[in-house]
């Protein structure tokens, strides 16, 4: 396959820093102000003028969470197959769609699995990228999540899943539905190993992913501005033929209805995770930063 030799599939966080190929300024879609792009990036992709959250790619998300230099891509070398030989109305095959998404995003798949440290704590991350066919879950995502969980268990690391997904990958039909069961089955290994699973729901976390692995965290966080739900707004509106509450399926709605533990601002997510990991520390593999922290504490005592 043509993609074999391509270097761009291996996730390289440093590429992010060097990404200054585009315009220097951007216009905020919320407040309309012109803002300096570099400032936006430094500000976790949040508008420095009005606080609007701009979209984050999986790589950008990893970049703002992990300890510098600690991230390593450990995704399984697999890509989507086309088991149903699915062709949509435009005559475009699923394989072509996948290839186009790979070219546009520079990613092999809609999810990246990596090993990293956050505040020194060992973490296995699985992060979805919504740009890649809506971050939808097919056989590859199912397998990558199982792979991530296996690593978390082997390395006694916390498992962090960051969802940005429209749900199941329709083009893989029933096989995509079955990934809900597959990932849930793998999740049991974390429970058996007494390892914490933190599920972070972002904009959007819906349908098949929301109704399976994303809802099975020991701790569930919604990023501020998240969209969380099973059925899409449009389908519900068509079914009940009524206007929906304005805050329907928002972060606040999820919190008020007891669906998430906390709503966390993007710029505070890293610190929030560190606070949580500290509470689970005895269950996690020791790490350099933690022993430093322990030493500090002993020094204080």
């Amino acid at each position: 396959m043509a993609i074999f030799g391509k270097k761009y599939f291996k996730v390289d966080l440093e590429r992010l820093e060097r990404k200054d190929d585009e315009a220097l300024w951007m216009k905020c879609k919320a407040c309309g102000e012109l803002v300096f792009k570099k400032r936006v990036r430094e500000n976790n992709n949040i508008c420095p003028k009005c606080g609007e959250y701009f979209f984050l790619t999986a790589l950008e998300r990893i970049g703002i969470l992990v300890d510098p230099g600690s991230f390593e891509d450990i995704s399984r070398p697999i890509i989507a197959a086309d088991p149903l030989q699915f062709v949509d109305e435009d005559g475009k095959s699923y394989s072509e769609k996948v290839k186009k998404a790979q070219e546009e995003t520079g990613l092999a798949n809609e999810i990246i699995v990596g090993r990293a440290r956050i505040g020194g704590y060992p973490v296995i991350l699985a992060v979805m990228d919504f740009r890649f066919i809506g971050g939808s879950m097919g056989s590859v995502m199912g397998e990558q999540i199982c792979h991530a969980i296996q690593h978390a268990v082997q390395e006694r690391a916390a498992f962090v899943l960051i969802s940005a997904t429209g749900g199941a990958r329709m083009q893989e039909g029933i096989l995509s539905l079955m990934q809900m069961a597959k990932t849930s089955a793998a999740r049991k290994r974390l429970e058996d190993a007494k390892l914490p699973f933190i599920s972070i729901m972002t904009y959007p976390t819906t349908a098949g992913v929301e109704a399976s692995i994303a809802s099975l965290g020991d701790i569930t966080l919604a990023e501020k501005g998240a969209l969380i739900g099973f059925t899409g707004r449009r389908v519900i509106k068509q079914t009940i033929r009524q206007e929906l509450p304005e805050d329907f399926q928002t972060d606040r709605f999820a919190f008020e209805h007891g669906i998430v533990d906390n709503v966390v601002k993007r710029e505070q997510l890293r610190d929030e995770l560190i606070r949580i990991f500290r509470l689970f520390a005895p269950l996690l593999a020791p790490s350099a930063a933690r022993s430093v922290e322990a030493r500090d504490r002993e020094a204080i005592v």
Binding site: I79, A81, E89, G142, I174, A211, G229, H257
Partner: protein, 322 residues
Amino acid sequence: MIYEELERQIEQLRALSRNGVDLSEEIERLEAKLEALKKQIAAPASSPAPSVELDDWERVKLARHPKRPYALDYIQALTEDFYELHGDRLYGDDAAVVAGIARFDGQTVVIVGTQKGRDATENVKRNFGMPHPEGYRKALRVMKLGERFGFPILTLIDTPGAYPGVGAEERNIGGALAQNIYEMLSLKVPIVATIIGEGGSGGALALAIGDRVLMLENATYSVITPEGCAAILFRDATKAPEAARALKLTAPHLLRLGVIDEIVPEPPGGAHLDPEMTMRALRGAWQRHLRELLALPAELLPPQRREKFQKIGVYEEIAELS
């Protein structure tokens, strides 16, 4: 659908005949064709994968046929002393899900199913077989009761999907589905799940985590309805027949994909034309699978069940990502 079309044509010709036109030859020809078609539909009884296949869209229509046997019909025909249990102990009782304890094949079992209504009034009560979170939570509560007493679990699935409504979202339908999937993967009693009609997406999967997953010959099981798929991918809901074919949602396809374990044969033309035959076939399948599963040590079931689902998926391995 060819089948219904033929029946309609025959009916029309009969009506014309009553008006004095002799169409007996044409009627006979169509009737012969109809019979052949019925036989073709029923053919696979003995073979594991039917060789002659009804069009996928025709099967979708059969799966949704208003006269098709529903969960309670199977419960009444196949079990004795069914004692229905109600409520999720948290919010309410959802009549789109029936759950209870019964006797089957000489032993006590737990039985859970999604239930459609036969007429307009019953459909209001049953919500067209589309459960709310409390339906799934009731199902889980009763299945856990089964686990406590070592009663095997039989589930019957026939739902367009979980209900897409405000209340369902407010009460965390996604979380309820996830919880059922997760807990069913680890219940320490045998589970035989059967798709008897429509297996609609996550709402079906949340009751279909079985050691064995069976499917009636004309049932469907899909990630999305053909109409929904057509609206999103083909931008045209009327393209549902094409979407049905693309989704590979019928039993023969699912058997080939390794998602189900067995196809339970239906009589010619669909389960509703000879419910008794359908019941007999399902009884036989349940007996066989339950006996096999009950012979295994109970603690082996959950890891095997999880392994079964963890294996599902088709992807391409490449040398390396870099």
